[in-house]
């Protein structure tokens, strides 16, 4: 920490202060975000895009700390394991079996038109 005695009464006290992380925090954060997004069915390149975007501060800071090679490998590992099921297209206007031309972590299986 830049100084030793943060005062909770001081509205600036915790600003401009860095709380040190454990050595593996960035890697753990990268695995967490990659796993959660893989569970949501996101493809590898979308997840990498998110890591590279400063708008998403958590993944971005992990990306800065780890670099592209490690992050790409983490994403690949998570997508291989977690997103190994096929994503099912529901409420799709295309005929069953037709490729909708979207990218996902896993191959599509189009279930055809459905009503909700």
């Amino acid at each position: 920490m830049p100084y030793n005695d943060p005062e909770p009464e001081d509205p600036m006290a915790l600003n401009g202060v860095a709380f040190e992380a454990t050595p593996d925090a960035a890697l753990e954060a990268a695995y967490t975000f990659a796993e959660e997004l893989a569970r949501l069915g996101q493809p590898e390149n979308s997840i990498l895009y998110l890591f590279q975007s400063p708008q998403y501060q958590g993944p971005y800071s992990a990306f800065q700390a780890l670099g592209i090679d490690t992050v790409t490998q983490v994403i690949k590992e998570c997508c291989t394991a977690i997103a190994s099921c096929r994503a099912a297209l529901r409420d799709c206007h295309l005929a069953p079996g037709k490729d909708p031309g979207c990218e996902t972590a896993a191959p599509w299986r189009c279930e055809g038109p459905q009503s909700h």
């Binding site: 954060a29 297209l89 206007h93």
Partner: protein
């Protein structure tokens, strides 16, 4: 002071009123690993309940960046400091048998906000250790929370050029918060007019607007700072648990219990809310296939927020995996390590229950799993890992099926003819 049993602390504790429990209890689980800090939940609440004059600085639902932020500012640092002063270096836990539902986190040996009050406060009528936040602490939610660090050793000043900022290995996570509709609410304990009460049907804690005279005792007492004072009406207000939705009397709910606005709006799919059955002693009744019971008492991945405060909060959190453990132990108690280990390597049932989050706005009362084929066998982070495409089915209060979903993520593609297509 009467004694009540607090299962989160694993022991009896002093509380100003005799124990009395609702039939079912409003409860929720937030998965901090998924929150993206988008504040959609915050705005869903704001636009429903607190959009009027006098409520400008009132955010019943808020999301703060930990460890830097808080709404009101420094709320948890301040209450932890007060407890530390009341009971120096003795806010500790004794480990116990995690399989005992009456004390799954062991026993808390320190003092709660009720017990510390006996030592710290005068006059004797003061019932809860707390403090009244200043106006400045309420009016700037999220201010400075996401600012970058300045130069080492220069206090309270940002770097002027930003050309060579120091590189720190820092961490943060988003903590979403609403009122915890506590089993032993500090707001209820503190109100001299008994204007704050807990509903017997669902345990939702409300302020009776006719009875409240704006003494702000509840604002001072709530350790989570979730009661708020409204200047133009001179009475206090708080999260109402969206009770018309929960009881099914909201026109949109069509008579069936519905999750609250902040839950239903969650973009990151981090939130699940429901009502759990209680035993006569206030502990959770075994309800093996209730998703909240499963997450809190079977998988034990969801933990109460600052259980040491002693109010037995009904908000439970899956802790963030990457955050230093001492910080998490302080925030979520001794269950942290086991919860993270379990969450990192989920089994079939946990994966299935996690799929129930935000598939529907209806409150889930029960789930059932139907086993599917194995779709992956390999390793994840050096450990064996298997995935099965199981189906999980959610049921409503009368046993009716609400929805069913699979581990494989369904993705909905809108036809070009949808009304809102561009």
């Amino acid at each position: 002071m009467p004694n009540v049993y607090n299962w989160q602390l694993g022991r009896d504790m002093g509380y100003p009123y005799e124990a009395e429990y609702p039939k079912r209890q409003f409860a929720f689980v937030f998965n901090t690993n998924r929150c993206i800090g988008c504040q959609t939940c915050t705005m869903a609440c704001k636009s429903t309940w607190t959009f009027s004059k006098g409520q400008e600085n009132m955010w019943w639902a808020n999301v703060e960046t930990k460890p830097y932020g808080g709404y009101p500012q420094h709320w948890d640092v301040k209450i932890l400091k007060l407890l530390q002063q009341a009971n120096p270096d003795a806010q500790t836990w004794t480990p116990g048998d995690a399989s005992n539902p009456r004390q799954p986190y062991g026993t808390f040996d320190g003092k709660t906000v009720f017990e510390a009050a006996e030592k710290m406060l005068s006059p004797d009528s003061a019932r809860v250790l707390g403090y009244l936040p200043k106006d400045e602490e309420w009016i700037n939610p999220n201010i400075y929370e996401d600012n970058p660090s300045g130069k080492t050793g220069i206090k309270g000043q940002y770097d002027t050029s930003g050309t060579s900022l120091p590189e720190h290995k820092t961490w943060f996570f988003y903590l979403a918060r609403i009122c915890n509709h506590c089993q032993y609410p500090a707001c209820v304990a503190a109100c001299p007019r008994k204007a704050v009460y807990k509903r017997p049907e669902d345990g939702i804690v409300l302020v009776n607007q006719q009875e409240c005279r704006g003494y702000r005792k509840c604002v001072e007492a709530c350790p989570y700072k979730k009661t708020m004072y409204r200047g133009n009406t001179r009475i206090s207000e708080k999260c109402v648990g969206c009770y018309p939705r929960v009881e099914g009397s909201d026109p949109e709910s069509k008579g069936l219990p519905m999750e609250t606005r902040c839950m239903a709006a969650c973009i990151g799919q981090i939130r699940m809310q429901g009502t759990v059955l209680l035993n006569e002693d206030g502990t959770w009744a075994e309800d093996r296939n209730h998703p909240l019971y499963y997450l809190v008492h079977v998988a034990k991945v969801a933990l109460p927020l600052y259980p040491q405060f002693g109010t037995e909060p009904n908000g439970y959190y899956i802790p963030p995996r990457w955050v230093p453990r001492p910080y998490l132990h302080q925030m979520f108690g001794p269950g942290v390590d086991a919860a993270i280990e379990r969450y990192m390597y989920p089994d079939r049932e946990l994966l299935a229950v996690l799929q129930l989050f935000r598939r529907s706005n209806r409150i889930i009362y029960r789930y059932k799993m139907e086993e599917g084929p194995k779709v992956y066998e390999g390793t994840l982070r050096g450990k064996p890992f298997e995935m099965y495409d199981d189906t999980v089915i959610a049921y409503g209060p009368n046993g009716e099926e609400l929805f069913r979903t699979k581990i494989e993520e369904p993705i909905y593609v809108r036809p070009a003819v949808h009304q809102n297509s561009i």
